[in-house]
Symmetry: C2
Subunit: 337 residues, 2 copies
DNA sequence: TGAATCCGCGAAAACGATTAAGTGAAATTA
DNA sequence: TAATTTCACTTAATCGTTTTCGCGGATTCA
């Protein structure tokens, strides 16, 4: 039951624990035959390294912290973030790291994110889907722990972002190409992502020579069908109705579609609509959703790779912004006009 | 930068490290004033316990392992499991535990689940959404590490399950109540959950005096709209078409709906359909989905509570099956006939 | 042949915490 | 008053690894 340790192996092989450690870690100052003998008896005896002892001694845990939304409206429940997390996990494991969730207040112990990460000896932390103005987050950002952020930029940190600027350009060019000139845009809460998308939308329209009246820009809450339904209603009430509405994500998109349904408007015959995210369901629904697929898998993978690179080559570190581009997913919700 | 340790506090307070440890852990054999003084200087100095050192010495890590599907078809990406995971996380953290993902093969190091859990000193492990016949899983099940399983029963382990038997009863009674007598059932891959649901479906129908011809029972792949679309097509090809089709989950449900759309059948006027899971989107879509909402939040929470209880009170442990019941979510896809 | 180099390995001190066993003084008891 | 108990704290071992330093013997070099 109790674990076999290096000392046990040392006894069995008639060498010192130091030699066992070196043999198992592939140090060069151990004879090849001795090393091989140690390794094979280790295998026979079912030896497992003890992560705690190793972390204690080396001050490296091979463990990454992840910070995903703490709020009750769990970021995890949303497909975009759970996909990011999953690919982050896969890549991290491939590179030899485990991952642990970082939260505030573990049990009765009040602590902030930084303290939690320290407590667990995290070699690095990835941050996503969170309130980036939280002082507790900022403390972590300003700390000496390697950090990469997702979809948000700090000037001293590496960030992985979907290329929101390019995606809005692609979207506008696509609907423009289908003849739309009256394009409305519903955006999410005010975050840097939201601002980037909105600015890019405006610019792309301008480049196409399209005028965007202020009342074509509406605000909603990300992932909230009700809120986007409301925004949609406002847009439909305008005297100069848009011919195409862009939504900030696919949940909002579907919320908008229900409102259209309620008003007996057919998609895409009466009005064109388009989403963002490319959730799994988008292609299973009828009509198939036209949306912009974010490469969430790529984002998670790049985040892990960058973070681990920073951990393992600290002197080469320079804060970087990695843009990950997505692609248009053409369904049946946008029509030629 | 480098961490403040108990020794530092001991020096500053003019006591021994042992006294600091006891004071911080609330042992009774330290004077109240001394203890308070130690605690306050610890706070001032920004002391943080070192999880690795503590784990090494106590052989307890306050860390739980989670085993979620390893396959590329990430369990995490599915709303049901990510919700379970999230509530598991929240409850575990409330009780003072962190969580770490357990996988096979971390880096170049080949190991199985049991070894990984050992390596990380997990106090317990929760298993969900996984191939329960995997020998590596079985090794963990047969080990001395506390384990709870989700949606699968082993006789030596505590299991948390949605009450699939009752839910099928509720579903059958609901559609029966609306006049349906020709009810088809599409089920997922062969697992214990699937078998339970199917058996319960048959029994519930029998209790209502409904005959279920064998070709009303079709097989599909969970969460795969294509596969359920196919099964749907087969059902529609029958001479005695069912008036109501039950799907194994909401993704399959939507796959079925697209097939119906393709065949120009209106839901619910031409045919009634019903799903399972109660995904977030179900109420945002039009028609609103009639489905059975699993209490995934409750499942995760109970799993954490049970697991931690087993860890902290090992002698009271007895394998238990906790049934968590869900509830009917009535939308517009089932019609009175 | 004597000196320098290299190779393979061991001794021992950490890393930061916990805890059994003990210690001296004060308080209680007989 | 002498014996016992209680109180508040310390000593020191220990958890399983890693790593610096050094050591003896063999090999190479001059």
């Amino acid at each position: 039951m109790s674990m076999v340790t290096m000392k046990d192996i040392a006894v069995k092989c008639g060498v010192s624990p130091a030699t066992v450690s070196k043999a198992l870690n592939g140090h060069s100052d151990i004879g090849t035959d001795t090393a091989e003998h140690i390794r094979s008896t280790a295998r026979e005896m079912g030896y497992l390294p003890n992560a705690a002892a190793r972390a204690l001694k080396t001050n490296r845990s091979l463990n990454l912290g992840v910070l995903f939304a703490d709020k009750t409206s769990s970021g995890l429940a949303h497909e975009y973030f759970s996909t990011v997390l999953n690919s982050f996990k896969v890549e991290a494991e491939r590179l030899g790291y485990d991952i642990t969730f970082i939260s505030k207040d573990i049990g009765n112990f009040k602590m902030d994110y930084y303290e939690h990460a320290r407590y667990r000896n995290c070699d690095g932390v990835v941050i996503a889907s969170i309130d980036y103005s939280d002082p507790s987050v900022l403390r972590l950002i300003d700390s000496d722990i390697p950090v990469v952020t997702i979809d948000h930029v700090f000037n001293n940190r590496t960030a992985i972002l979907s290329d929101n600027v390019q995606s809005m350009v692609d979207i506008v060019e696509y609907v423009y190409g289908l003849g739309h000139r009256k394009i409305a845009f519903i955006h999410g809460e005010d975050t840097s992502v939201t601002r980037n998308r909105l600015a890019s939308f405006r610019k792309a329209c301008m480049n196409k020579g399209i005028d965007v009246p202020e009342d074509y820009i509406k605000s909603a809450v990300y992932h909230d069908p009700k809120s986007s339904g409301l925004a949609t209603r406002e847009l439909l009430a305008l005297q100069a109705r848009p011919t195409c509405i862009l939504y900030p994500d696919d949940f909002s998109f579907l919320g908008g579609m229900s409102e259209l349904e309620r008003q007996r408007l057919k998609v895409p015959d009466d009005i064109s609509v388009m989403g963002y995210d490319g959730i799994l369901l988008s292609q299973a629904l009828r009509p198939r959703l036209t949306t912009f697929r974010q490469d969430s898998e790529g984002i998670g993978r790049r985040a892990a790779a960058k973070l681990i690179d920073e951990i393992e080559n600290p002197k080469m570190f320079v804060p970087t912004q990695v843009l990950v581009s997505g692609s248009l997913l053409v369904g049946n919700t946008v029509k030629q006009v």
